[in-house]
Structures are given as C-alpha cells and as structure tokens.
Subunit: 402 residues, 2 copies
C-alpha cells in the first residue's frame, strides 16, 4: 500500500509577523488562561450528559463551587455566559412591575438595568461615577427612599473600570431590609475575597471564563433561603433561566436542559486546582499580582483609572499623545499579549490588563516588561526596567495571607 504525498496541510508562512512566535498570552479581564490539565480533561471523548458519570461531575463541581464561593446555599450550573446568571437572579426574584435598585457604576452594572428593562422590572439606577466605588451609605439612603425594592443588584468587580466595590459593607445594608442582594461576581470570584454567606449575598452570579480558569460557556448562581422566598412567591416568566425548574432537576444532580458538560469536566479539574492551592491563597495571589501590576504601571508614570482597583485586572489611563490601540496592537504583535481597551465612554481612554485565574506573578512581570518596551516604542518616555523593578519590590515583600 502506498500513500500519496500530500503536503497541503503543511503551512508555510514567511510574512513579517512570522518573526514573532506569537505565544498566546491572554491578559484580558476574561477570558483568562485555561490550565493545560483543564484543556486536556475537556479534550476527552464526550460522554452522555445524563450518565451517572456526568451527574457525579455535577455533584463534585457544586461541592467545589460552594467552597470557592464560601456558601452553604444551593448553586446552579447554567449553560450560558455570566449574563445568563444575572438574568436568572433578576427575573426569578423580581416580578414584572416590581422594583430593583441597580448599583450603576460601569458598563456591566448598567447591564443589570438592561435586564430589568427587558422584563418590565422598574430599575432605580443609583449612579456612581465610573472608576469610583459604590458608597454603602448611598445604598442605605436609596433603600430608605424605596422600601419596596425587591432586589439590590451590585457588582463585586466592575470589569469595565477595574473597580472593586465594597460588597461586604453593602451586604450589611441590604441584609437589614426585605430586599435580596444579587451580586455580579463574574470577574471577581476567585480573584477577590468574597464570603457569599457571611457578606449577605443572596444571589451570586459567576461566569466560567475568568478566575475559575475555564473557557466561557458556563454560569453559576447561588441562591439563599431569603432569595427562595422571593422566587417561590411568583411565577417567573423565564423558561430557560427558571430557578424553580433548575431546583427540581438538581434533586437528581441534573440540569433541565443539555448542559455544556465537557466544560463541567473541566470545571472539576479547575476547582481541584483552586482547592489544592487554597481559596484564601488564591485570593492572596491575586492581591499580590494586583499590587505588583499597579506598582509597575505607576512606576511608568501612568495613572490608575480606578480609585479602588479590583484584584483581577488593572486599568490605566492612556497618556496624552498616545493611542490606546497602538499600545494594545503592539503588545499583541510583538509579544502575543492580548489586553483590552475601554468600553462605551471609556473607549480609547484606558487600557485594561487582566491578571486572573491561571496567571501568576511572573506573568505580571512579563506583561509589565512588554508594556515598558511597547511604551518606549510608541514614543512614551520609559526608563527600561522601572516597571518590572517596582513590581519585583512588591513580590519580594513577605507574603500576606488573607
């Protein structure tokens, strides 16, 4: 038997770009890098999603998620992006015509308002300047003004501005009222300290593609007893995101509709990694990476955008006379580093560097080294090594545990 020589699949590119190896370095605030063992687990042959094995994967994943989320509440795995979990939280706890208080401080918290609008929920928008943290006192005042609020919708880490919000303090305020507290923890969970139960979060909404170290496709929502009371009080108009339907199926460790269960296989592996490192240690690592990245960026003379930086990403203000796209394109072309710019009114004004999930201190060093070189190339005055050195100083300091 002879096999013909077919060479079509051997790609030979000799362009200018080929000079760079283009090792992909996802430094976006989601998706974040996925560990090799997670990728490999998901590359296994597809099993049936109703098999005992698939159910066991759900059992173990939910048990792991509870430890990561710091909750005893039920957790539901949704096949959706994080926004699906937000929609589930909103549409199951607030009936049409009901009232929600939206802690609006960025592109993603504004999305809570859009979800409410779609379902005829009255959204009271408590606006905070982008980049500033939400003030818990203002939340208390708004709740006094609107005692009929069914749900307060907030954010742990506002991805659009790189801001961490004082969820613990806000939770204390909401806990004193009849309202439930729904928190978008999509880019926050796994990167920032968060105690779902202790902080009074009734509905925690999370996506798979950030610090949980998975590709996108899964969303998670935890539901407190206080939230169940709201949910059981009316018939939610949602079919796909109906939490009562999900609860019925969860008795058998199942999902109402076909789940993205190869992602759940990956989730199990990713959670084992987080639990092996220790949730508190994972938070400490992110704090450290965040501190190092901020120190590096500031050493370059660049201003941080946020007044209270989140720990999974660092947003800096693009300096006068430089184009954000020039910085980001060069980072990508020369070093394979993907970052993101600003959204909506921040377009062109900030650059956001992600450092979450399967990312370590040396990734931050690499990113800063590349940023230095790129900034020099776009004509910004750079003293070589200054950002890296500033970050190293942070990393040489004793490890602070949380």
């Amino acid at each position: 038997m002879t096999v013909g020589l077919r060479l079509s699949s051997l790609i030979v590119i000799l362009s200018k770009e080929a000079l760079s190896m283009q090792k992909p370095r996802l430094m976006t605030p989601g998706p974040a890098p996925v560990p090799e063992d997670v990728l490999l687990a998901m590359a296994q042959p597809v099993i049936h999603h109703r098999s005992a094995e698939a159910k066991q994967n759900i059992v173990e994943s939910v048990a792991g998620l509870k430890q990561v989320f710091k909750t005893e509440n039920e957790i539901f795995i949704l096949t959706a992006s994080g926004t699906g979990a937000m929609e589930a939280a909103a549409v199951n706890t607030v009936p049409k015509g009901g009232k929600a208080l939206v802690l609006n401080a960025g592109w993603f918290s504004a999305r809570w308002g859009k979800v409410c609008q779609a379902y005829g929920i009255e959204a009271v928008m408590l606006d905070t300047e982008w980049g500033q943290p939400v003030d818990p006192t203002r939340v208390a005042n708004a709740l006094s003004e609107h005692p009929d609020t069914a749900c307060v919708m907030g954010t742990l880490s506002e991805t659009s501005t790189g801001t961490g919000h004082p969820v613990e303090a806000i939770g204390k305020v909401v806990a004193k009222t009849d309202a439930v507290f729904a928190v978008d923890g999509i880019s926050g969970i796994g990167a920032m300290e968060c105690h779902t139960d202790a902080w009074g979060i009734d509905l925690l909404c999370v996506g798979s593609q950030k610090a949980l170290m998975l590709p996108p496709g899964l969303a998670f929502v935890s539901v407190s007893q206080k939230a169940w009371k709201k949910i059981d009080a009316f018939d939610s108009p949602s079919f796909y995101f109906n939490l009562k339907t999900a609860r019925k199926k969860m008795v058998e460790f199942d999902t109402p509709y076909t789940p993205a269960h190869t992602l759940i296989i990956g989730l199990k592996v990713a959670l084992n990694r987080i639990l092996a490192e220790g949730v508190e240690n994972v938070w400490a690592r992110h704090k450290r990476m965040s501190d190092a990245c901020q120190a590096g960026v500031q050493a370059l003379g660049l201003a941080l955008f946020s007044a209270r930086p989140a720990e999974g990403l660092t947003a800096f203000v693009v300096p006068e006379g430089v184009k954000d796209s020039a910085i980001r394109n060069k980072l990508q072309e020369k070093f394979g580093i993907y970052t993101v710019g600003g959204q909506d009114k921040l377009k062109g004004k900030i650059v956001r560097i992600g450092h979450m999930g399967y990312t370590d201190e040396l990734d931050v060093i690499s990113g800063l080294a590349a940023l230095e070189m790129v900034m020099a190339e776009v004509g910004y005055p750079v003293q070589p090594g200054i950002a890296v050195t500033a970050a190293q100083r942070v990393l040489l300091s004793p490890y602070k545990t949380i």
Copy 2:
C-alpha cells in the same frame, strides 16, 4: 435516580507550599514546554498505527522534518529517546571492531563512546575541556592519524555544558575523508542554525522533547547517501535500531515496530508551528533569547560556563558560598521554574537554564526576574531589576534574521 455524594476526588491541600500556585515553567534544556495545540492533538482518541491516517501523518511529519533539518536525505522516525537515534547512527555505520572518532567534550558526547563500547566499536576519544568548543583542526589531525575511522561522532549543542560546537567547520573536515559525520542534534536542532546537507552531516540524530516542542518518546535520524554506503556494507547487529529494516518499511510510510503515533500526531502540529514561524525565524528567536539570557546572567555578576554558548540553554557558574540546589529549589518552590544543575564532574558547580522550543522572549525575562529574586534570597548581592533590564536591552535591539 439519585447519585451518592462522593467527595474523595476533591483534593484539599492546605500546606505551606500551597501558597504558591506552582504554574509549571519548564526551563530545563529538555524536556521543553509543549504548546497547547500539540497537547490537545495528542489527547485525541487513539487511531490505529497502520491506518492510512497514521501513514499520512508520517508522510507529512517527514516532509516537515526535512525542512527543519535542511536536508534532502531520508529521515526515520524511531520510537525511542534521542539516545536511540545515536545508537542507530553508530551501530549501522561502524561494524564491530571498526573505528569511530568521538568528539568528547561533555556528558552527552561521552555517551557516543559508551555506545561504541557496548557494540565493540573502537572509540578514539578526542577530548576537549568541558565548556570549550571542539577545535576543527584537532579533528583534522585526528583523522589523519586514524584514516580508518568509519564515523566521526559529534554534537551540535552539548547539553551538559551549554556549549555549541562548530559543526559546519568540522563537517568540512570530515567531508574530505572516507568517514561519515554523525551529529547529536538533540538539544540543538530547532534552537541553533543547522544545515544538515550543506554542512556535511551524514547522520543527524534528534529527539522530540527539546526544540521540536513534543514530549519525549520520538527520535529522528537522517541518513545521507555516503552513510547508506557504510550501512549497506555490513550487517548491523541491531534489531530494533536497524536502519535497513526501517528503510524497507519507509517505502510504505510505515515503521518496523509500533510507533508512538500519538506523538507523531503531535509532531505534525508542532512542525506546522515551526514552519509557520519559519525555520530561520525560529533560529533567530533562540539566538535572541540566548543573548538576552546571557546578558541577564552576566549583569548579575554571574559567569557563563561555556566559552561558546549554545542557543537553547545558558549555563552559569554557581558563585562562591551559594548552593546550586538552594537556587534551583527556590526557583521551583516559589515560581514553579524547573532548571537543572551540573552533571558528573560539574555537579553542584553550574546551573543550566533552558530556553528552547515553545519558549519566548518573555519567558526568558520571567526566568531572569525569578533568578534575581531567588539569588537575593540566598544571600547573593542583587540590585533588583538589573538582569531583566540587561535582557530588555538585548530585546529592544533590532531583530537580526539568520
């Protein structure tokens, strides 16, 4: 149906080591990191090794290897470590009682002598001080002294000392004689410029786990017409590494014995990566990484061990009063960086940092940043950022193509 809650597979470790994420960073001179798409290709379901698909993989892999090796000669894929390819080269070209000239300048070139010994081949050892390159004039003199030499056995990159040998010049010397030139290119190929045919290499021996970006398990040997004349002149005592048997099977793009064909699937992907980047560009990248790593190490006041550094690794001398194991253990514990120490008489005296294959400039920066921090911790005087800055200066210089 109910599924019992089994949590045994959720590993919870809360040891001190768990503080570090331990992202694995292979900076050893082999194995080298394997790209994600190669890992995923190999994670596919196993096909049959005699199927048309498996043969097509051999066809394409050999075509790709010829481009990487810069040869028109036949290439054989062996399921073995690189040493298997060396054994094949030796035992097929030199009969029992025949003579070989071994260019002995390190732990791995000495291995050629051990292979000869095992098969009753007379090995003339041309000793060169470890860390020094082989002198082509001495090779010429030795061949004049031993005109009955059947094979000259040399090394492109001596992994034990981090030395690159002048293979081109040696090749010219050997080409004038009746001897064939066998070269161990295991840690060299893909990392250092090498033109198999133009440089007169009759048998190029390569392993999969270095700059070819695969796990270990495959070895490759290219065979020139001059070599075939030697091979056809006698019956080699080797069964498994018999190149005549391999040649018979290769007519049908097959192998004599079951090949590690999932590795060949990965090889196809890895070769596509190399060819897409461009072989000359891959060499240039390694030259640049090598220059940057050397600059960084020297900026720290550390001496390079080799007088002619290879481009896939950098070996530095452990300074007085510091233990090499302390450096390497801390690199591993704190940053997940695996390096290697010295072998045989270099034990404890050098540290070897690999930068080959699926490794880019920022990996070198990371490695140097970690080395700085670790050296400071073991009590060596370090000015933070100095190694990184020196490396960055190299990386900011214009790209030199080969």
